[in-house]
């Protein structure tokens, strides 16, 4: 039996390796045919394209590597903001679904039911072309100014593209988070609600201090995968003209014709992003669980 499993493993490895070798060989043949080998030298050449927004100084005479870095930072910006806002919205909507106010409850239910059944890409297009580009010029006080040229919050200017992607990701992911929160909250025994009510705590306070902490261990792992989804979904920004990592990679690949190299860089960047998020969440998870254990 041991011999058979060994044989099987050798067979599988040989097949896998042969398959990979076949692919790589085909790639080599095809690249040779078009006269191009793998090469990353172009990364140092000036990109020649401008970007609408960049967190760090960037001009078209900067090289491709820097352009990609700016794209990565833009992605990071919208992901980070999206994580925070989607969490807030999701927890609020999840809490609203267990609220005692029927109207609030059904409103939250409707939000989840509609948003989760419509493709994100369509929602992004809606937010951008209909909602944000349809904004009339409306200064609300000195601190907030809305227009379809951009939005200024407390003196901080935000492009409408950024706002559309952020809104789309927040609303879409928020609905999923609301479901997770509701599931976690439902797992907390009803007796806990009765207990804090009998102590005279208000609904909101009881939810925040009693129910949510107990629901967290069930919520956190699912939340991590939603965060990763949000990061992956941010690549749809290309559809509304936001210069994220995927959009910049796409432009780079077209201009240089370096599809394989560009794709590899994209993969590596995303693996990095994933590690960042899962690592962060693992940290939070450990802290939360640790605190729970200590308090017990």
């Amino acid at each position: 039996m041991r011999r058979r499993s060994l044989l099987l493993q050798v067979g599988v490895s040989v097949l896998l390796l042969a398959f990979l070798a076949l692919l790589v060989n085909n790639l080599a043949v095809n690249l040779l045919r078009t006269g191009l080998g793998l090469d990353f030298g172009w990364l140092g050449r000036p990109s020649g394209f401008a970007l609408a927004e960049s967190a760090l100084p960037y001009t078209p005479s900067d090289n491709y590597l820097w352009a990609l870095t700016i794209g990565w930072l833009n992605s990071l910006k919208v992901i980070a903001a999206g994580l925070v806002l989607a969490t807030l919205l999701g927890v609020a909507a999840g809490a609203a679904r267990s609220s005692s106010n029927r109207l609030l409850r059904s409103l939250a239910g409707g939000y989840v039911a509609v948003i989760r059944q419509v493709p994100l890409l369509l929602q992004l297009l809606f937010w951008y072309f209909v909602a944000f580009l349809g904004l009339p010029e409306t200064p609300i006080g000195d601190l907030i100014q809305l227009s379809n040229q951009g939005i200024s919050l407390l003196g901080m200017p935000l492009s409408v593209e950024f706002c559309a992607v952020l809104t789309g990701l927040t609303v879409f992911t928020g609905a999923s988070i609301a479901e997770i929160v509701r599931g976690g909250v439902n797992a907390v025994p009803r007796g806990q609600w009765e207990a804090f009510r009998s102590l005279g705590l208000s609904e909101g306070l009881g939810f925040r201090r009693i129910v949510l902490p107990q629901a967290l261990p069930a919520i956190l792992p699912a939340l991590t995968s939603q965060y990763l989804n949000l990061a992956k979904n941010s690549t749809l920004a290309i559809a509304v003209g936001y210069a994220d990592l995927y959009a910049v990679s796409d432009t780079t690949i077209t201009q240089t014709g370096r599809a394989i190299e560009g794709f590899l860089l994209l993969l590596i960047s995303f693996l990095l992003l994933n590690l960042l998020i899962s690592g962060g969440m693992a940290g939070i998870n450990a802290t939360v669980l640790g605190r729970m254990r200590r308090s017990r």
Partner: protein, 377 residues
Amino acid sequence: METSAVRQEGLRIWDNPSRIVPTLMFRTCNRLLVGATVGLAALVGGCASMDGASVSRLDLVKQRGELLCGVSGKIPGFSFLSAEGAYTGLDVDICRAMAAAFVGDAEKVQYRPLTAPERFTALRSGEIDLLSRNTTWTLSRDSAGGNGLSFGPVVFHDGQGLLVPEAAGIRSLKDLSGKAICVGSGTTTEQNLNDTFAAEGIPYTPIKYQDLNQVVGGYLQGRCAAMTSDRSQLASARSGFADPEKHVILADRLSKEPLAPAVVGGDQTMADAMTWVVLALIEAEERGITQANVNAMVEQAEADASQTALRRFLGIDGALGSKLGLPDDFVVQVIRATGNYGEIYDRHLGPATPVAIPRGANRLAENGGLMIAPPFT
């Protein structure tokens, strides 16, 4: 040796089940061959050197009996999906002319709607045989060290312009300083915009979209102070606005945009065939050969041995087609299918169409334009 035999026979899976049945045995053998060959190649590893260049894409097209043509599908007048669900336009007719010459039937074309960013990769990867998609002929795209394509003759001379709302009071580039400009990403348009504004030292914000449709959407929704594209496309887009007269194209010309079809580089046979099909369209217009009179012209030339140049052009003498790897009468096939260049232009961009772009630089050289064909001898 086996490998080249295999490569000529393009195996197409699932596309057309009815074609699979009769050739099933042949295909199975071939598949085995492919399997054996690539298996061997895999064993040899990266050392395998294959002379892929020896087989032209043209042979593959002929064998397949169908041309895979990349178009935009979203530009009225050039390639556009009509309400009947068929592609029409100048770029589409170029594909049809090619198919008429290559496989003898202008309808044997598979159109692949491509976005600007994906078009070269599609060509390079073999996803399409020929690109006929408002593509500007540039050095880096044409060269082996760049995108590695081969361009054919120009089918439309264009230039990049800027469309602005008249009411905005923008009269020159300087007025656009610091403003947002809507532009399609991955296009030369984007680079020209950058080159021009950088040279003039005018700051601006590019708002990049994937296709012209969204550029127009963004512009009309007021996201940008101006939109930029080839002037033909600006005119074509403006023709659809509710109030075309309220938008003006600035006099500044950001670039020259010679639009031309392209094939993958390093394939002389394919490139030559493409080049001379386009030239035949122009030559036919010079000679006054049209879709309506081409049959009569052939009869007339066959009867009159003194019409030597015409007889060569129509493939009665000289076997010019064979030199390109095409049928000798390819010109006749092409004109029957699409008419000459002037006819194609009028059909899609002429005064009777909604787009209505004056012919300008696209007139024949003898009428003061830039269109001219070298001799068919």
